[in-house]
Subunit: 204 residues, 2 copies
DNA sequence: ACTTTTGTCAACCAAATGGTTAAACTGTTT
DNA sequence: AAACAGTTTAACCATTTGGTTGACAAAAGT
């Protein structure tokens, strides 16, 4: 009988840390709580990740590297713009619904320390993906298929419509006087109705 | 010569507390920092507001009561829907640009404790304002002036488009590869282009 | 079998932090 | 000018918190 080491302690810690950091932020997270959630001694946290800061950085980098490719892969296809919009809003809303604390976590910590991004990932292609999208939009404008619009604003529109209802849930739920279940339903509808809305706004 | 007490200590504290709490959140805020910013002894904080919790509640209530009426007053007019949309996006983006930490602060703390809203303000009219807007939208749909759309989704669209680019600035700035100045310019453009976008999306 | 390395833990430590206290100061009343 | 109430401060306290240490067990070499 080979003793099966249930799971790498290092990753057990990282998973526990993700949960605590993403829910409570750097300032609100407690090392003891992470240790408890991981089912190990607090000293282990320092054995594997030397300090709270280092552990936090690992969590942050992990979040960024899960998030960023999702955006990129959808946008970086050869599809028609409308298909891209449909694809992006559908899949992205789905993704962040399942990781609803992540975007807020990233924004908060980035607010605290704008340098985190540089440390987190070896700045990938990113900008030329945006370039590509801009070119595609400009092309459709020239062809008269869509209204004249600033591509950067359009990108902001699409991201805002997808992300904000998820991260602003506790506030928006209250404004719309919804319970948890019917608010979730509202989000689900958005997976298709956001694209419809955006396309209606730009189509000629 | 009556000695002019420069400013009420109580409000000096509240102003300092607002700044610290809204930038760092409940967990990240330090009583000492608030005292320093207010230029007084730390014991004064407890003299006027008994605990960190109570001081926080005062700040949170103040934020809510500054925020909520702004939304209400604009929506609760007799204007045409399009005028309302133009008015709301223009003034609301302007407002939160000047208080950019407030929406994020509210969302964060509401996330931590969803009960905060109940404590913060004696739940005003609110819901029947939303009712009124819904009725107006349904009316325009019936008249064939705008596309058929779920009024709640439309409200989510408008709020998302207005708020998210402001609170997501550190992230979006990076995605769009903008410096501070040109990002600010982008936000300014949104004061008019968001309304245009929304109206294009729903007008028939 | 033995030594070395790696992993784990309970106990501990120093600094930070929210909160308290008792004395002192300030302006007003008597 | 004495008494008084409201305000302010320095020093202090108890708890929490990130981090460390030394003992010890479990593998891994040899």
């Amino acid at each position: 009988m080979t003793k099966v080491k249930e799971q790498n302690t290092e990753t057990v810690i990282l998973e526990a840390a993700k949960e605590v950091f993403q829910h409570k932020g750097m300032a609100g997270a407690r090392m003891q709580e992470i240790a408890d959630k991981a089912g190990i001694n607090k000293a282990m946290l320092h054995y594997y990740y030397r300090s709270k800061d280092k552990l936090f950085s690992a969590v942050f980098a992990s979040a960024i590297n899960l998030m960023a490719p999702k955006i990129m892969k959808i946008i970086n296809t050869e599809d028609h713009l409308f298909a891209k919009i449909e694809n992006f809003t559908y899949k992205y809303i789905d993704f962040i619904s399942k990781h609803s604390y992540m975007p807020l976590f990233i924004i908060n910590e980035l607010n605290r320390n704008p340098n985190l991004l540089k440390d987190a990932f070896a700045n990938k292609i990113e900008n030329n993906i945006e370039q590509k999208l801009v070119a595609q939009i400009d092309d459709l404008i020239a062809k008269g298929e869509i209204r004249s619009i600033n591509p950067e604003q359009l990108l902001l529109h699409i991201i805002s419509l997808s992300v904000f209802p998820v991260i602003g849930k506790p506030l928006l739920k209250n404004i719309l006087q919804k319970d948890d279940k019917s608010y979730k339903q509202l989000i689900k509808e958005r997976q298709t109705c956001v694209a419809e809305f955006v396309i209606n706004a730009i189509k000629l």
